[in-house]
């Protein structure tokens, strides 16, 4: 039997619901909104990412004979339904923010409209991918912001939750402004610049540290970065300076040294002094070792003579915010707007649009979530049709173009929303028409479903 396909990457309940929809003749068009309910700690914006993976999936999703064999083996699916699944394709419409756009909590960033079975079955994959790429791009944007123009390189390939996540991180981090990454596979896949230094093992395998540096310099006479902390950072830097001068005598140049442990501020100052005294002012200092935006920011503010940062562990899993409350909720079925009832967290019914209002200098000041088709003056509509009848309406922007779009959009977002601790919330309003619709649907639903009046249970 062939291996199961990606079509099976769906929660089983999507398939059981699909059978129940199908058997109930419940096959009208539905609209689902994808949004992030609230911010993780110390966040007041997100960076939208992962759309290309979603569109690839939607164009390609199908149930192969191997998939259907597996489902049949579970003993709970109807033969007619499985035959229907065999021919199923995604034929719907997708509207979305653009890759690299800054967005805010509760804004619908993807809306999927199509026959309810199709739009339901793709939920698991869409949420998984937008959530993953957005979490990583958002985290990466914070590190870039903290580095304030210094080089930032992704070292996280060994720390991410799998190879797929490492490649997603490399892509998302480049989108958000990283300069390079160490993950060779992601470099090949996405054409992102390559970067690499050496590990402690290399140094230890030679008879002495200075031998290791000399051998590496022979292999990479103009592309060497020496890792200097295997035994003692100050002594290691002195040896790097010796070899750096030997390289210069041969007409080459030592690129950089790398600090990977200890008090990076203090050691960077000592290393800078050693290199400068040796006449190696052009040798750069690169730092790594458990860094995230908080530590990079502290080093930059302290004036550490560090030219570039390698970030890994904490960025690779977005350690302070590894998950979000990303939801994909039914908002309309057969033209009827619907919502979940909840005193605290009602969903917003119906297909929506988001308009962004800006100051004259381009800085965004307010977003308004409104009903599709509502007349809103002066704002820029952010949800754009990207797929119709199950096919992309145009090719994806290049990663470079999305990176540029992010760079421009992020630069215009006021700094108060980008603070690393307790950033100020951005103003997101709900249009009065949408508010009225929400009230009406909520009242009707409550009257129908909760005879006693107020809903008592749901919190989300």
């Amino acid at each position: 039997m062939d291996a199961p396909s990606g079509g099976l990457f769906t929660d089983l309940y999507e398939l059981t619901m699909a059978q129940a929809y199908w058997q109930s003749g419940q096959t009208a068009p539905a609209t689902f909104s994808l949004f992030f309910r609230r911010y993780p700690p110390d966040r007041a914006y997100f960076v939208f990412a992962g759309l290309a993976a979603v569109l690839d999936f939607l164009e390609g999703v199908r149930y192969t004979p191997a998939d259907l064999d597996y489902l049949r083996s579970l003993g709970r699916f109807d033969a007619g339904f499985l035959a229907y699944l065999a021919g199923l394709r995604f034929t719907g419409t997708v509207r979305a923010f653009a890759e690299g756009d800054v967005f805010f909590a509760n804004e619908p960033v993807v809306e999927v409209t199509g026959p309810v079975v199709e739009a339901q079955l793709v939920e698991t994959f869409i949420v998984n991918q937008v959530n993953l790429h957005t979490i990583l791009a958002t985290k990466a944007s914070r590190v870039v912001h903290a580095a304030a123009g210094r080089q930032v390189v992704d070292f996280a390939a060994r720390r991410t939750h799998g190879v797929e996540a490492a490649n997603a991180l490399a892509r998302a981090a480049y989108l958000a402004g990283f300069d390079a990454r160490s993950n060779t596979l992601a470099g090949a896949l996405y054409g992102i610049p390559a970067s690499g230094t050496m590990a402690h093992s290399f140094v230890m395998s030679f008879a002495s540290e200075i031998d290791a540096f000399r051998h590496y310099a022979r292999s990479f006479p103009d592309a060497s970065t020496f890792l200097v902390d295997t035994y003692d950072t100050v002594e290691g830097t002195r040896k790097a300076a010796v070899v750096g001068l030997e390289m210069r005598d041969r007409g080459h140049r030592l690129q950089a040294i790398r600090l990977d442990s200890g008090d990076l501020l203090d050691l960077a100052r000592k290393a800078r002094a050693i290199l400068d005294e040796a006449g190696l002012a052009d040798v750069r200092i690169f730092a790594s070792g458990g860094l995230d935006e908080f530590e990079v920011d502290a080093l930059v503010r302290a004036g550490a003579p560090i030219d570039g940062f390698g970030v890994g562990t904490k960025v690779g899993v977005s350690a302070d915010a590894p998950w979000t409350d990303c939801a994909y909720k039914l908002v309309a079925y057969a033209g009827r707007p619907v919502l979940k009832l909840s005193a605290k967290k009602q969903t917003l019914p119906g297909p929506k649009q988001v308009h962004r209002f800006r100051r004259a200098d381009g800085a965004p000041i307010r977003d308004v979530i409104d009903c599709v088709g509502e007349a809103i003056e002066g704002g820029e509509p952010l949800l754009v049709e990207v797929m119709r009848d199950g096919r992309r309406v145009q090719p994806d922007p290049s990663l470079g173009a999305s990176r540029q779009r992010f760079r421009e959009g992020f630069a215009r977002l006021p700094d108060r929303h980008k603070a690393f601790r307790s950033p100020e919330p951005y103003d997101v309003e709900i249009s009065s028409a949408l508010r009225d619709l929400q009230r009406r649907v909520s009242d009707e639903t409550r009257a129908r479903e909760v005879p006693g009046g107020e809903a008592t249970g749901p919190r989300r």
Copy 2:
């Protein structure tokens, strides 16, 4: 051009080091130890997982023509080295703990010995996979322990960092004792039992909640779990009871209801009372909604009438401990034991073994890390050869066998090491021979590399 292969999933520095090793004639056998330096918060053990993925990679890793084309395009690799890479295979030896074994900080759980280039190049993948699977299996084991025999199902497919991580979680969670998972693909890949209920969207798409239940019951007359919190949990449970009685009249049975929000303890009690009063004492109550081991433990201790838990978001990314300090360090080169110098965190030189000592009833009381070949009496050696000359020495144990191994090993680990908050550390000793070796290598290295005496820099 063909797509790049998994062989390129390596930090670029592994490849630059490989070229420098190769050009320096530095091709002797090396041994690398993989270990976890310290525990994340509230952990005093880990569950070893991911070995099969590592062995698959080692047996299959190679550099395809497409990979070599990409590397050539970077302009920093020597043609002779690329020709050498084209023929490279992993030909080494691997010793490892068994899948599902409980282990502790600083213990070498995988040791790789082979020509240094081969053993170096595979670092990124090995660390990535053992780290991922071990983090997830460890987190899952805590949830199973908290559930104290109640059913636990993995709902995290939409929250993990990618599809690969979702499949890894489904497998690791089953290894650690979960009963089922919602991820259909993982079910097909690993033969793990399937589970699925319904989503709010299903309920909202129908004209009324009770209609939705009735339609679902017709599709799954003996396998229905009704989600009751879309509008109001108490009212939803009453409707579920009505439909549950209708199902019984037709000779079928409502399996369960699912609570997904609100005060789960209070709502579970109310729901249990409603179902019992209706004569539906056999309808189970299933709870979900942001649960982790801490909340499951609180509900179980409070005596909540909940028969099963669905856990997703916080378990899928191991939210309180999404990363570890997993390291893969050179410990010997050409028969010479080596280490990094560090006042606080010296590595342990040379190939090692770990022996576990137990009480008469089987409870582990102490592990000893020692030198390979050292005579240790009475302990059980935990590192076993699993690969020789680049091939597995025997087939992997089945997932079911590893699950059983974990269950037995975990049951014997005293509860004080399994506490959810501030567990008591388990006793891990270093043999006196290993301690002596560490001192000797450390002294020799310091004398050679740090003329002033004490190392000043490295912290890790």
